[in-house]
């Protein structure tokens, strides 16, 4: 089956500035795919390349098997886009935006659009310039979803939305993929990504750091394990274990970040007479932060 999005060696420079370098990943049909990375990581640049808004310096991007620049009309017909720094026409109302841009897209059936307006409580009759960031974002979401595109490209989609509407957005995304359509969303919010995406690419400084499922990343993420002893002990043997990093050792308590198997640590703790053990589940936040940090780059293999 042809992937909905397929990128190979995609590179874009902006003069002397780095844009994105040698990106490769693929997105399958019916998938929620996430781009995660700090500001300036290259998420929006990648999205603009996928929509043909900018041309690559080298490499290829295919959307529905088509070139986003040469076949822009066909790609755009099947795509809904919400820009990260969404800009609307300040003097026009939400209704005027939806009418005019909907007409340009040939949206003849309006009941889905009207349903979205109702679900998100979109303010339609006031000029956009007087609306809050959140209310403008709602108009952007309806513009992206209203023609039921096969691919949704959403750059920081929940910016400005309150928690209830973020939940509603999550439901909409799940409904969309349940219909076999595909969602690509970029975010720097770890929670949002963990909640919504099936698979993700982490970008840092224009490069793909890793592409994997959330479950796969969770497996690779360090678990925090603490052992309590009756007296202070030498934590050196714990620090020497494979896949273990000593987080703290004081007052008879040793805390480890374990990314390898837990059995060697349990055996060692047993030999040293541990009286208690606590373990926290895999901490994705810690993994993501480690990926973000330039100086600490975990060795995690690329999937796909």
């Amino acid at each position: 089956m042809t992937p909905v999005v397929e990128v190979a060696g995609l590179t874009r420079h902006f003069g002397a500035h780095r844009g994105v370098v040698d990106l490769s990943f693929a997105i399958g049909s019916g998938e929620v795919f996430g781009f995660l990375g700090p500001n300036g990581a290259g998420k929006s640049t990648t999205i603009r390349l996928l929509l043909g808004l900018i041309r690559p310096t080298s490499g290829t991007a295919r959307v529905f098997g088509l070139d986003p620049v040469q076949d822009a009309v066909a790609v755009h017909r099947r795509t809904g886009y919400l820009a990260g720094d969404l800009a609307l026409y300040p003097r026009l109302t939400g209704r005027q935006h939806l009418e005019r841009l909907g007409h340009a897209r040939g949206v003849a059936v309006r009941h889905y659009r009207d349903e979205l307006v109702e679900r998100f409580g979109v303010e339609l009759d006031r000029p956009v310039r007087v609306l809050s960031k959140g209310n403008r974002q709602k108009i952007g979401l309806v513009l992206a979803f209203m023609h039921r595109p096969d691919l949704l490209v959403l750059d920081e989609p929940t910016t400005g939305l309150d928690p209830l509407l973020q939940e509603e957005f999550g439901r909409l995304v799940r409904e969309t993929v349940a219909e076999g359509r595909t969602v690509l969303l970029s975010s720097h919010e770890l929670d949002e990504v963990q909640r919504l995406v099936d698979r993700l690419t982490i970008l840092r400084e224009g490069h793909v750091v890793v592409t994997d499922t959330v479950a796969g990343l969770r497996r690779a993420a360090p678990r925090t394990v603490s052992f309590r002893f009756t007296d202070d002990i030498d934590p050196g043997p714990f620090a020497a274990l494979d896949g273990a990093r000593l987080v703290a050792a004081a007052d008879g308590q040793v805390t480890l970040a374990l990314s390898g198997p837990v059995a060697p640590a349990l055996r060692l703790a047993g030999e040293l007479g541990a009286v208690d053990v606590t373990a926290r589940p895999a901490d994705l936040d810690e993994l993501f932060l480690a990926y973000y940090r330039a100086e600490a780059r975990p060795e995690v293999g690329h999937a796909r």
């Binding site: 808004l53 755009h76 800009a87 003097r91 005019r100 841009l101 340009a104 897209r105």
Partner: protein
């Protein structure tokens, strides 16, 4: 044929179009209505005869009290081109580079329409914006024949059409500059500078010997600098103005195809 992008831009420029049209209607009416009071004022001609260079700077040559001299000095050589250029250059700099800077261009270039179709609609909007000002001027000047402004219909139509083409050409230059640079400031600055130079060359050509040969490089010369109100717009002038417009359109389409949209 898609029209939504053109309608959208015209909606955004509605106030400017209405405002400039009402302004030119009021101004041209006053100029036309005042002519009977000045047509025998020979002292006015002393102004141009006494210092033709200063008069030329305002686009004025020859007698000020003839119908064509009066309309040239007050409308066709300066004010009408200025108003149309402000409209067309202002829109053209805003509709690609300006909208890209604002972030709204992405709303239309992600529509299922070719970039060339989008640009075509923007050029159509450019022409449609300049039309009301040109048509209002034309109608009032033709009505002015009741105020002793005895001019032939076709020369007036031709001269007005020439100014319209002039405005469209400079608008297309702003569109091209904006599509090449992505900068509204560059589009406004470069086009305004070229328009100002073009105006000066055409205005000073009759009185400054070394500038005289350069006049053919000035779009003002082909539009209003060659006694068009008396002789009408020649086929050659219309061809030059149209040809420049076609070349600028092609160049703008190529540049817009390659523009990085934010």
């Amino acid at each position: 044929m898609p029209v939504d992008v053109a309608l959208l831009d015209l909606r955004l420029r509605r106030r400017a179009i209405v405002g400039y049209t009402l302004g030119i209607v009021a101004y041209v009416f006053v100029v036309v209505a005042l002519y009977p009071a000045f047509q025998d004022e020979t002292s006015l001609n002393d102004l141009t005869n006494g210092d033709p260079t200063i008069a030329a700077l305002f686009g004025v040559t020859g007698s000020l009290t003839t119908p064509s001299g009066w309309l040239n000095a007050n409308i066709y050589a300066n004010f009408l081109p200025l108003v149309i250029l402000v409209l067309t250059i202002g829109y053209a700099a805003a509709c690609v580079a300006g909208q890209d800077e604002d972030g709204t261009l992405a709303l239309v270039v992600t529509l299922p329409q070719h970039r060339r179709a989008i640009l075509g609609q923007k050029i159509a909007a450019l022409v449609l914006q300049a039309l009301p000002v040109a048509l209002a001027t034309l109608l009032l000047v033709l009505v002015g024949r009741s105020f002793d402004l005895t001019l032939g219909t076709w020369p007036v139509v031709g001269a007005t059409f020439g100014v319209l083409l002039l405005g469209i050409d400079f608008g297309l230059l702003a569109l091209l500059t904006g599509a090449l640079t992505g900068s509204r400031g560059a589009a406004l600055g470069v086009t305004s500078a070229v328009a100002a130079a073009s105006y000066l060359v055409s205005s000073l050509a009759p009185v400054t010997q070394w500038i005289h040969p350069l006049r053919v490089a000035s779009l003002f010369y082909w539009s209003v600098g060659n006694d068009q109100l008396e002789r009408g717009l020649s086929m050659g002038s219309a061809a030059v103005l149209t040809g420049v417009g076609v070349m600028l359109t092609v160049a703008a389409a190529l540049a817009f195809d390659r523009l990085d949209v934010h």
